[in-house]
């Protein structure tokens, strides 16, 4: 993929560093201390680009994956992002720890406690065709690298949790069939809608909240110390997917998009009913049974996933509402 467009001074500086040759004793830029580390688009685009160096990278720049100046900046941005997430989710984690001694019950307590609007229900019943398409475009940033962030955790764990994570990922990665790779199913859906289905094609179009939803997975996946949070995040993601995917499939069918789009979501109704149980019981359960000290971080990962999802859903629904009101005004004026 090509480098994205800058969204502010920090992402502009990162682009400048990426375009230069690595090394040379350059120092990293310092982010604006006032930026919202949960949503600011300049902050999160900068972090997203730094993470992307560890995935497919950018085709039009030199290889910077382990450039010390960029790794230092990444660590600084990660520190601020993680600190904000810890503050925002502390009550959910504390309350869940007090609610039960059973990990699965504690994870469910966090899921029940983090409340927000149902994007899936809106897509099912009310969204316009343009809004469903906007949703599919925004989701492409993740679904074209579906399951990749959590794959970084495999070499960092052992035993039952490792076996179960590999099992889940084998399913995500097509179960031995390249045409069933979930990222390929999503690319097929995008193509059927007339979208560009190439990896990262819409990074310039997604808001800061969506970048944050993507970045949290890389934050957890790329830091060994946060492996508990990575697997908690996975459990939350899988546990809140099956029923919403059925609703989204209904919305996709209601607005008349091609069958291959609904098929992607129907596949996840079934797959994620399996993955939820595997992630809760075998992956998180196995991890915490072997490493009791990771329990709090598992719950932190659950809460962080849902907390950022709620912020992103509110922002997206708010944008669509403003666009509708503006269209109404335009119609009245016309």
């Amino acid at each position: 993929m090509k480098l994205p467009e800058a969204r502010g001074p920090l992402s502009a500086q990162v682009i400048e560093l990426l375009e230069a040759e690595p090394g040379g004793g350059r120092s990293a830029p310092h982010p604006d201390a006032g930026a919202d580390a949960l949503a600011d688009e300049d902050f999160h685009l900068a972090l997203w680009m730094l993470y992307e160096l560890h995935y497919r990278g950018f085709e039009d720049v030199p290889d910077h994956e382990w450039d010390p100046a960029l790794v230092a900046l990444r660590v600084e941005l990660e520190g601020r992002f993680e600190a904000e997430l810890r503050v925002g989710t502390a009550d959910f984690v504390r309350d869940a720890l007090g609610s039960s001694d059973d990990l699965v019950e504690q994870i469910r307590a966090v899921i029940d406690a983090v409340e927000g609007p149902s994007l899936a229900r809106y897509l099912q019943r009310e969204a316009t065709r343009a809004e469903v398409l906007d949703f599919l475009m925004q989701r492409s940033l993740y679904h074209l690298k579906e399951s990749d962030p959590h794959a970084f955790v495999v070499p960092r764990i052992d035993g039952r949790a490792k076996v179960a994570l590999a099992e889940l990922q084998y399913d995500e990665y097509g179960g031995g069939r390249p045409d069933r790779l979930h990222s390929q199913l999503y690319a097929d859906a995008l193509e059927a809608c007339g979208f560009d289905h190439r990896y990262g094609a819409y990074v310039d179009q997604v808001p800061g909240h969506t970048l944050a939803v993507n970045n949290v997975m890389s934050l957890f996946g790329l830091n060994r110390r946060l492996r508990g949070a990575a697997l908690g995040h996975l459990a939350a993601f899988e546990s809140t997917s099956s029923v919403p995917c059925r609703r989204i499939a209904g919305g996709v069918e209601r607005v008349g998009l091609p069958d291959v789009v609904a098929a992607y979501f129907h596949e996840h109704v079934e797959a994620d009913s399996v993955h939820e149980q595997v992630a809760l019981r075998d992956i998180c359960g196995g991890l915490v049974a072997d490493n009791p000290a990771l329990r709090d971080d598992v719950l932190f990962g659950v809460a962080a996933c849902l907390y950022l999802d709620v912020l992103a859903a509110r922002a997206l629904l708010g944008t669509w509402e403003r666009d509708r009101l503006r269209d109404d005004v335009d119609e009245q004026v016309a």
Binding site: L168, Y170, D171, R246, V269, E270, S273, V274, Q277, V278
Partner: protein, 78 residues
């Protein structure tokens, strides 16, 4: 097992199919090659693990589709 007893998970090699009940949810089956329904119809297994419907309400039986989450749970026995 609630409604799940109607399914029979089998493996081609005769290896034991590992069954893991999940509370109010489905039953996970590992090492299965097919699931036989009450009418004797074989449903091939294409995943490393499958979740078998145990509430009887799934629209994709024998596979779980998480419909059990919409069913009110009975109050715990006193």
């Amino acid at each position: 097992m609630r409604g799940g007893e109607q399914w029979r998970a089998i493996s081609r090699t005769g290896e034991d199919v590992a069954l893991e009940p999940c509370g109010d949810g489905p039953v996970l089956a590992r090492h299965a090659d097919a699931v036989i329904d009450p009418d004797g119809v074989a449903h091939p297994v294409t995943r490393p693990v499958v979740a078998l419907c145990a509430c009887g309400k799934s629209q994709r039986r024998p596979w779980c589709d998480s419909t059990h989450k919409s069913i009110p749970q009975a109050a715990p026995a006193r």
